[in-house]
């Protein structure tokens, strides 16, 4: 659960089916074959990146600038969920150089042995990073760095400025009876559970009272207009006025506002919201580890970040120098430096398999009730 642009054209259905077929065939016969299919011959002139589609690393101008500086071509492959990312890394060992890993998933990838330690000496911008992200135990294991902090963001509440003249500062607005059939949340078990945990005053990552969380989510039913699944989906439905209030990603909210000129307001409720950050990791047995270090260094550079943030809209950089380099007129500069709001955030931590399954079952059960 992160603030990502997901495949604009892509339907979850199609992608999921493709993923399923790919996975199923991998299970059948592909496991033995895939390593031979990697294009190792091109490895030295190529950096293979695994990321969400349209999430910074695949901007055309950036890749041109990177090629100019290093002579390396960047090739992309995409995932549509973090579990798909892990599955891809497991089924294609040695196929990827740079992988964008969420803070809550970097540890899992480390544990599964699908990413390798990063030689931070090769990443000259590493020292500039905000220590609270850079040295986070979520990215560092046993004194080794498995992920370079890249960007961070918030999952909080977006609202229509056409409808709300006053900012809805309380998370309870989502449950307010006035908003019947005007609310949307993402169809995502962890995000839903996290928000309900915050609303019931619990630790978002490890809520102790799941019954309370479930009750809170069930209470959302009369207000729910729809469950959104991708940024593209969100923009289309928001524009069609399918809902006015939604749990949404900060980076996406800024993009909806600046790129699509939608009347979107964004607030971190008094009760708190979800914080996340993304790391850049290097795949185990990466075909071009040297190129991967160069690409990671480029990704955390102020020049690249400023261009990404101003041209396209981006989450906040984990590099304070990059944030400082933003023009003062940039809405994200003020937005992400609201220290009081940041203090209210709870950051995503890795979940155990059991917690993941429990959250998933709880959400499936709640959705079943929604459908009644």
């Amino acid at each position: 659960m992160t603030g990502k642009t997901r495949d604009g054209k892509g339907g979850f259905g199609r992608v999921s089916r493709r993923n399923f077929v790919a996975g199923a065939s991998a299970l059948g016969v592909g496991v033995g074959l895939t390593p031979f299919l990697n294009r190792r011959a091109q490895a030295s002139t190529e950096v293979k990146v695994l990321n969400w589609q349209g999430y910074g690393t695949d901007e055309k101008w950036a890749l041109e600038a990177f090629k100019k500086a290093t002579g390396l071509d960047v090739v992309h492959e995409y995932y549509n969920s973090e579990s798909e990312m892990i599955t891809k890394l497991q089924t294609n060992p040695g196929a990827y150089d740079v992988i964008v890993t969420n803070s809550a998933w970097n540890g899992r990838a480390t544990e599964q042995g699908v990413i390798q330690p990063i030689d931070t000496a090769q990443v000259s911008n590493f020292a500039d990073l905000n220590p609270s992200f850079r040295d986070s135990p979520l990215l560092n294991v046993d004194g080794k760095t498995y992920g370079v902090a890249w960007v961070w963001g918030i999952t909080a509440v977006a609202y229509s400025t056409d409808v709300y003249k006053d900012v809805p500062t309380s998370i309870e607005a989502l449950w307010d009876a006035k908003n019947a059939k005007r609310v949307s949340v993402r169809d995502d078990a962890i995000e839903a559970v996290s928000f309900a945990a915050i609303a019931t005053g619990q630790d978002m990552n490890h809520p102790t009272d799941l019954a309370k969380v479930k009750e809170k989510l069930l209470a959302l039913k009369p207000n729910l207009a729809m469950l959104w699944t991708s940024e593209d989906d969100w923009n289309k439905q928001f524009q069609a006025k399918a809902f006015d209030l939604s749990v949404y990603w900060s980076g996406s909210a800024l993009r909806s506002k600046t790129n699509f000129k939608l009347p979107v307001g964004y607030v971190v409720p008094d009760e708190g919201a979800v914080g996340w950050f993304d790391g850049l990791a290097i795949g185990k047995d990466a075909p071009n580890a040297e190129g991967a270090h160069k690409f990671i260094n480029y990704m955390i550079e102020p020049t690249y970040y400023v261009e990404w943030a101003t041209k396209v809209g981006a989450p906040a950089s984990a590099n304070p120098k990059a944030m400082a380099a933003l023009p003062d007129s940039d809405p994200s500069k003020a937005f992400y430096s609201d220290e009081a709001a940041i203090k209210r955030l709870q950051f995503m931590a890795p979940l155990s398999d059991q917690e993941r399954q429990d959250f998933s079952d709880l959400w499936a059960e709640v959705k079943t009730e929604y459908a009644k």
């Binding site: 299970l27 969920s81 089924t91 729910l224 998933s360 079952d361």
Partner: protein, 287 residues
């Protein structure tokens, strides 16, 4: 006549490749999934997996799976019923009323939806069904001030989308069955004094039953496993077991549970057809 060695060889060499192909592409993956459904973790996890029945136990232990299963079956029932109600008369008209070049043209129109991507079809329906969509604007222009027609994210929207996707199966199978009925049988019924309705009920309908059954099977089975249409057109109202299975593979990465749920769904389909088969065969045979 018993087949000679030569004809046996001919049969083997002609059917062998097909069976080999089916074994590799259907039997092996299904067998792998069946084995997977009894494991306690995905084989992609680099830890030894062990045998368990917990995945099947999860289905029987959690009531929401029952609701999802019931809704999937109900959805299959409604979509099959509406496909029959719309498709059968169309097939009848094509087989018994329309002749010559018109028939080809109409056939083409029926098959046409198959030529477009399923996802494109479904997303086009979202534009038609939503408020301010094509239906809504049409109604508003004829009856200004009429209540807004917003079918998107409702159960009927899911049924509409699925009927549209699967209707050609029903038309084609019924058409083949209806076309095979000798017109002289209908004439014989009429000349012996049966009314049009009686002729239809006693002659045409029983003789076309195999077409209806195969059409229904072709529709019912994929619909109860559907997940894409319910999600896009149904919003929160489109919960099916198929969606939950899909999430086990793509979101939770719990392949064993997804596989177990798939096999439960398969078993339900087999039970339904097992129960209905003798009854349907009797009906068909009694004609």
């Amino acid at each position: 006549m018993t087949p000679t060695t030569r004809t046996r060889w001919a049969i083997l060499s002609l059917t062998g490749p097909a069976y080999l192909w089916l074994a590799c592409t259907i039997f092996l993956p299904i067998a792998a999934m069946l084995a997977l459904s009894f494991l306690d973790k995905s084989p992609l996890v680099p830890k030894p997996a062990s045998f368990t029945l917990a995945n099947y136990g999860a289905f029987f232990g959690k009531p929401f799976y029952w609701s999802l299963t019931r809704w999937s079956i109900e959805l299959g029932f409604w979509v099959t019923l509406f496909s029959f109600l719309i498709g059968y008369p169309a097939a009848y008209a094509l087989a018994k009323r329309v002749k010559g070049r018109w028939r080809e043209a109409i056939f083409l129109l029926i098959v046409l939806p198959f030529w477009s991507n399923a996802l494109v079809r479904i997303f086009s329906w979202t534009m038609v069904l939503r408020s301010n969509g094509i239906i809504d604007l049409g109604v508003q222009s004829i009856f200004p001030g009429a209540p807004t027609v917003d079918l998107l994210f409702t159960y009927p929207a899911v049924v509409i989308g699925l009927v549209h996707s699967y209707l050609p199966y029903m038309i084609l199978t019924c058409y083949i069955a209806l076309q095979a009925i000798d017109d002289s049988l209908i004439e014989a019924g009429r000349s012996l004094g049966a009314s049009k309705l009686t002729t239809f009920r006693r002659v045409v309908l029983p003789l076309s039953l195999p077409g209806i059954i195969s059409g229904s099977a072709l529709i019912f089975v994929p619909v109860i496993g559907s997940f894409m249409e319910p999600r896009i057109l149904g919003g929160t109202k489109g919960a099916t077991l198929g969606m939950n299975i899909e999430e086990q593979f793509t979101v939770t990465a719990n392949w064993p549970l997804g596989a177990a749920l798939s096999f439960i769904l398969l078993a339900i389909v087999l039970i339904i057809f097992g129960v209905l088969y003798p009854f349907l065969r009797k009906q068909g045979g009694a004609a």
